[in-house]
Amino acid sequence: MDYLKKYPKLFQWLFLLIIFFALCFSIDVPETYKFIRGQAEFVKDPNQSTYVFLGKEVRYYAFDVFWRLPPLLGWLPIWINDSLFFLMNEWMPMEFWNEDTQEYKTRPLVLEISRTLTSFMTFLIFLIRETLLGGLETIVAFTSWDWIDKNPWAELPGLPWTIVAAGFAILSYKLSGKGLAIFAGLVMVYISIFGQWKPSMQTLSFILVAAPLSFIFGLGLGVAAYKSKRVEKALYPILLVMQTMPQYAVLVPALVLFGVGDHAAVIITMIVAVPPMILLTLLGLRAVPPEVIEAGRMSGCNNWQLMTKVLIPTARRDILIGVNQVIMVCFSMAVISAFIGAKGLGFNLLLALNQLNIGLALEAGLCISLIAILLDKMSLAWANKQTDYFGNLTFYQRNKNSLFFGASVIVGIILAYVGTFIFKDTFNYLFEVPHNKGISTADFWNKGVDWIFDTFFVYIKAFNTWLIVEVLQPMRALYLRMPAVATLVLVVGAGYLIGGIRSALVVFGLTLFIALSPWWDRALVTTYMATFGVIMSCAIGFTVGTLCFQSKRAAAFMLGVCDIFQTFPSFVYLIPVMMLFGITDTSVLIAVIVYATIPATRYTIEGLRSVPAGLHDAATMSGVNKFQRLTKIEFPLAFPHMMLGLNQTIVFALFMVIIGAFIGTEDLGQYILKALSDKNGAGIGLTLGICVAFIGLIFDNLIRTWVGQRKKHLGID
């Protein structure tokens, strides 16, 4: 009885678990139940039950409601699809003037808007792409194909790669200094020499369009949300869902609305990249000290002056961190958008992976990683750069960088011109190294992979089999064995114990949505893979983090490593695991573990670091040894922050599990991948994405609520 009073929470949790297991054991697996591999809605089977809602027929395999809830939301994807189709093809037909045919044409409004947007984006992308690589399209946009035929000289020539490389180096020098300039130069030379110039510039042009647009929209919406509570409230749920929604899943509706290609990818990238920009703008503006705002007001600023001259410049750093986020999201989207036909490095990577040419994939992947690091470092340097005073500098000092760039343009052009004489019979290497005409290491890597397979195949296979048979299969079976009702009780109970009625209701709603969708089984598989990844990641991350924390230098080094790894688009992680483990679930899980270990490690170190120095000293003076200090002082205080790390770990793991579908898994991701190649996939893809986002949000809600209470209790933050 004393125990009960002393640890009431513990007993509440025990009680919850007992109910959960009681439900699990009392509800039997129906004899007809099997894991449905095909999509129920496309299979006609007399065993299926059907119902009609909103004119849509939904077919499904019926079970006892305690075991699996019927897919009462099964109409949703079909309905989304039909609505989209209606919007695009039938809603509000209007007359539009067509420039080419010189006549009015009737088109539905949304279709016209989407086509206008599309052609605008296409123009922007080609403008930048052709400045970098040369081409016709931009000039055609202002004239016509006939005109080009008559004037064959009219073509954007493209910049020689030397100029672009010099430009990057000079910009890096301006932002950060010599170190970054050298790195930038080397990366550019590497890209060029290894024949990745064209796809790299394609990817870059994609980012140069998507990032500024995302920045403008993000800043605008961030400012609007700052000024009006109502806008913020309206945006908040969208921001929340977008944070946990796999980037993959938003691609699907983009296909329907904007078609295939770079333009569609840019538009959809904006949808993904704007939310972090909004959040960081809001954060930055909120952090402006109230007295600075008052000082602005007392200086007689009107609202516009206050925003542009006081608030935004003061919040500069946070806003530029937002720019960094935008660039990184755009970059990772540029890679993933290969699935909807965006050109560039991602496309080559996807192609190579599809052909199982690990060597080529590795080359593209290396390029992607290098550019990612470069862009990340450059934009961070920009954010951290402080304004300098230029008033008393000479003209040369002030315009040094522009002058150097001007000089490099001239030198680059001369070099390219000279190149036409040197490389008369082959490609002009001083102008542009053509794709796959550079040095290729693909064969080397492919041989390496073959060697690894030849040498270690037995061991890898044995490990693989052991893992799948002994660990993964039983775990998966356990997850699938959970009756829907028991799962709901467990989740809602956890919500209630952690955050009271409110939390319980939120997680109940989120879980119910998934349970009523047609993909509950798949969601369980996704959760099982994510859980396995998260457990391993946390075990590794917490251990590594704690060990590294013991030495200042090791901690700084580890954080640096985390920084670098975090910049890689998630897709890149699939290359080395496929190289080592082939196409199996193990590969996916290992990618998940590697990827999700990053936040686990980072937050552990950060959490331990954030323990105040005063407490440290106080503990030492109380005569604790290192281990006691760790367990009695540092862990309890760092724990809330480490739990936030767990939250991130879960999100990262979910993302990777979904992308892992590319290798082949049987979860929600597999369907998202299928939806990508299905012309009626928009509704399915979107609903699946929401399901994944909701899985993330359930954990997000529980962890955040707990952390908030814990921090309040400890009096930190």
Partner: protein, 343 residues
């Protein structure tokens, strides 16, 4: 006397959802407790006072006493819930946004506790900021700002960024910025509270020097009673949103209106605050010795002289006419008598 520059009539500031309605229902009888029970917090409770031209009113109170809120009502950084505020006869609460901006651009300057400088602008750009906001050309505003830089003694540092300055220097920039538009009314919100004691004293002296020269109408907020005594023409002592007493430093020290005010005055070295005028005996101008002291002397400065006399000492006004007297016993009583021994 001419019209007061700042005039407040029954100003209330109450935070909370139904503040306005509750204030109307209370008929001016605001009880903090009842308001708190209804989810409202009383910031300023029935403040009425006037500040005349060239006068320095120091509002003193501990944190949460509503002194900063009062200042923000008068600068209209927040809108008062009830009452009237007049700036040079203009009804402040009736101004529209444009008129308010005009008023701030030309008539008001404000200094902040945390300096509130713009981190991306240099010293001179920060000072020129209010001028540029007004629409003055860059060169003119910079040259004007340079005058201000000299006024506060920061020459040679005009191209530094705030991050490169010490706290005292940053506050000099803040002061210069608030003076750049040559305002008539100067608000200072705990300007020296974030500074180290030595720097604080230096800045107070600097401030007095400036005020001597500029003769602005000032509202100065502080939580430091000594600072208030040192600077003020008149002091308003606030507690829980209510002005407990508003008077000259000497009268507050001699006649604290409430127990709360008395606690502040207990530890005050009276000889440093009070003038001979405040303690002299005006009924006796006949039976005096040869020594004469001016009524405007601070007691500390003349105490030794007076105490060395056997007889009563004559007090004179500026025309050297005897207007009263003071005897050594009175000095001893003033300095030691009213003070409770805390040991």
């Amino acid at each position: 006397m001419s019209e007061p520059v700042i005039k407040c009539e029954n100003v209330y500031k109450i935070f909370g959802a139904n503040a306005e309605k509750m204030l109307q229902e209370s008929n001016g009888n605001v009880d903090a407790k009842t308001f708190q029970d209804n989810g409202c917090i009383v910031g300023v409770n029935n403040a009425s006072f006037e500040v005349s031209k060239g006068e320095m009113l120091v509002v003193m109170g501990l944190s949460g006493s509503g002194k900063s809120t009062l200042l923000r009502c008068i600068s209209r950084l927040t809108d008062a819930t009830g009452g009237k505020i007049f700036i040079e006869g203009q009804d402040l609460l009736k101004l529209n946004n444009k008129e308010l901006i005009d008023l701030r651009r030309n008539k008001m300057g404000m200094v902040f506790q945390s300096f509130a400088l713009l981190p991306h602008k240099t010293v001179v750009e920060n000072i020129a900021f209010p001028l540029q906001i007004k629409g003055i050309k860059t060169e003119d505003s910079i040259s004007k700002a340079m005058d201000m830089v000299k006024l506060v003694g920061l020459d040679g540092r005009e191209n530094y960024f705030p991050r490169e300055l010490s706290g005292g220097q940053q506050q000099r920039v803040g002061i210069a910025r608030s003076l750049a538009v040559e305002p008539d009314i100067w608000f200072l919100d705990e300007p020296f509270s974030a500074l180290d004691p030595l720097i604080r004293k230096e800045m107070q002296d600097e401030f007095l020097r400036l005020q001597e020269k500029l003769q602005k109408t000032i509202m100065f907020i502080t939580h430091d009673f000594d600072e208030a005594l040192k600077l003020a023409d008149r002091i308003a002592i606030m507690k829980d949103g209510i002005i407990e007493q508003l008077d000259t430093p000497a009268k507050i020290v001699l006649n604290p209106a409430t127990e709360y005010v008395r606690k502040f005055t207990e530890e005050v070295p009276r000889e440093k605050v009070l003038l001979i005028e405040d303690v002299m005996d005006t009924s006796n101008t006949e039976n005096v010795g040869d020594l004469k002291v001016s009524k405007d002397e601070v007691i500390e400065n003349v105490a030794e002289k007076i105490l060395s006399q056997e007889k009563t000492v004559a007090v004179t006004d500026e025309n050297n006419k005897v207007i009263g007297s003071i005897n050594p016993t009175k000095i001893i009583n003033t300095v030691f008598g009213g003070r409770k021994n805390s040991n």
